[in-house]
């Protein structure tokens, strides 16, 4: 009896397929870096204005730019998963892929791997540009930046897996969710303001989002020069829960797709 174990080579195969697409299309590569830079430039000038007119913001130059970049990591991580998955549906390739030994969990690993690559490609140019434009070097956050980055990245994966599951189940009519779903959590995540600004009844909802812990943690480092371990563990705990739930949802939806014959029928 042959074993059918998880294969990193098959994960690489799916990532390679999408790297080929990126390599062959310079507009796609440009688009990946374009929006984070536009965001960073816009918010950078707003920050510059606030620094000159608000003592609160002036305490921590770069707080808004850091927030913008971390938010973009979250947004791009979500898109990295959802768009990579939808690319297979647009190409009507799911049927071909899943008659090979590719396992759904290997697909999830490939989607998150591509998301990591796309997010780094996307946010790094904007982060580097912040130095000559605004004299803000986000990497000066040091090791906490890595913790923040990983946590918003994983939360982005969770939203991406949720969107991919919905698109697999309901078809490409649901694809706009890839762009809009993440904005449902934006007002609650305390990106540009503390969570305690929210009405009391909304705060428990905000504290169920890993992103709220990240942005509060970021402000603690920038304003108070303190790394809040409690906030980090809060983000890690919720991310672990949501990653397990959304991966399980993706696998369940894949099972439903096999019951309903959706894998052979996808496409525009």
């Amino acid at each position: 009896m042959r074993k059918a174990e998880f294969s990193w080579r098959r994960v690489w195969a799916i990532m390679l397929r999408h790297l080929y697409v990126l390599r062959s299309s310079w507009p796609r590569l440009l688009e990946i870096a374009y929006w984070p830079m536009v965001q960073m430039i816009t918010w950078g000038f707003i920050t510059t204005f606030f620094v000159q007119h608000s003592s609160w913001v002036a305490q921590a130059v770069g707080v808004l730019i850091s927030a913008v970049l971390l938010w973009d990591v979250l947004f791009r991580a979500n898109l990295g998963v959802a768009l990579t998955f939808m690319e297979e549906m647009w190409a009507r390739n799911l049927g071909q892929l899943f008659v090979s030994p590719l396992r759904p969990l290997e697909m999830v690993a490939a989607l998150t791997g591509m998301s990591l690559l796309r997010t780094i490609l996307s946010v790094t140019p904007a982060a580097l540009l912040a130095l000559p434009l605004y004299d803000v070097w986000v990497f000066s956050l040091g090791p906490p930046l890595i913790a923040f980055f990983i946590n918003v990245l994983v939360m982005g994966w969770c939203v991406g897996l949720l969107v991919s599951s919905l698109v697999l189940r309901f078809g490409l009519g649901a694809e706009s969710l890839a762009w809009v779903a993440i904005f449902a959590v934006a007002p609650l995540s305390g990106i540009y303001y503390p969570v305690d600004v929210l009405p009391g009844w909304l705060q428990p909802v905000a504290w169920s989002l890993p992103s709220s812990y990240v942005f509060e943690g970021m402000r603690a480092v920038l304003y108070d020069n303190v790394f809040r371990w409690d906030l980090l563990w809060g983000a890690v705990a919720f991310n672990a829960l949501y990653l397990a739930l959304t991966t399980a949802l993706f696998l369940y939806t894949f099972h439903v797709a096999r019951q309903r014959g959706l894998l052979m029928q996808q496409g525009e």
């Binding site: 071909q96 899943f98 008659v99 096999r258 014959g261 052979m264």
Partner: protein, 251 residues
């Protein structure tokens, strides 16, 4: 029912419902090792549904499916690497070049010496000259050969085709059929194909399973079916069955 000892595919009481629609209705059959078998039937007869279940893309409502001695419903990953599939209705990524597509699929099947294998398949299928071209720029005949290359990349013991020569000109269609005959002789592979091309079925197949409304209504070699229905061509037999004019047992 126990599968035949030399069966590559063994299907027992297979049923698939989509809501109230019965796509496959309690079919059972065995396919012998090294044989070429056709699933024949009109549109909606249940051929593609049956093939999708055999490939593990679709779960049946009930029944049992064993492929290469493995339970396909619970352990499909143990056998998917030993089989392959091609259909003009399921695309390869069009933006990738032919070589990129074959490289991706070669990795999915974890092939060793992949570069060499791609060159060999490309030479065999006469696609070496457009390995560097985007797949979308190929003609229908060239795409079919590329799809065939992908299907043969892992040297499968079992090949499934859904209308392998649909939309091909007679010359290319004949080339594909010759290639499949040669591949089966060389490798001893088992082939199952769904087709509407009766000439193709008569030429390639040892066994024909005739389907109508989700059921297997008759089966036999092309010669047996012609004799049983008293017809000169398989197309006439097909029309008899598709139009429910009479069945083999009536004849």
């Amino acid at each position: 029912m126990m599968p035949e000892p030399s069966s590559v595919i063994s299907v027992e009481d297979l049923t698939k419902h989509f809501g109230t629609v019965v796509a496959v209705d309690g079919i059972s059959f065995d396919i012998a090792k090294g044989s070429t078998t056709a699933l024949l039937g009109g549109n909606g007869a249940g051929k593609t549904t049956t093939i999708s279940i055999l490939l593990g893309l679709l779960l049946p409502t009930s029944g049992r499916v064993a492929v290469l001695d493995e339970d396909m419903l619970h352990h499909r990953h143990r056998v998917l690497g030993r089989m392959n599939f091609s259909s003009p209705y399921v695309d390869l990524p069009q933006r990738l070049t032919v070589r990129e597509n074959l490289t991706v699929y070669g990795h999915l099947y974890r092939l060793s010496e992949l570069g060499e294998r791609i060159e060999t398949v490309a030479r065999d299928l006469d696609i070496a000259q457009f390995l560097s071209r985007p797949t979308r720029n190929l003609s229908a005949g060239q795409k079919t050969r590329v799809a065939l290359a992908k299907a043969l990349l892992n040297e499968p013991e079992l090949l499934l085709f859904d209308e392998p020569t649909a939309s091909l000109d007679p010359d290319t269609g004949d080339w594909v059929r010759s290639y499949l005959e040669a591949y089966r002789e060389r490798s001893g592979a088992t082939i199952l194909l769904a087709s509407h091309n009766m000439g193709e079925v008569e030429r390639l197949c040892d066994m024909v399973l005739m389907m109508r409304e989700g059921k297997i209504v008759d089966k036999g070699s092309p010669a047996e079916l012609l004799h049983r229905y008293g017809r000169r061509t398989l197309e006439e037999v097909f029309l008899d069955i598709a139009r429910n004019r009479r069945t083999g047992s009536d004849g």
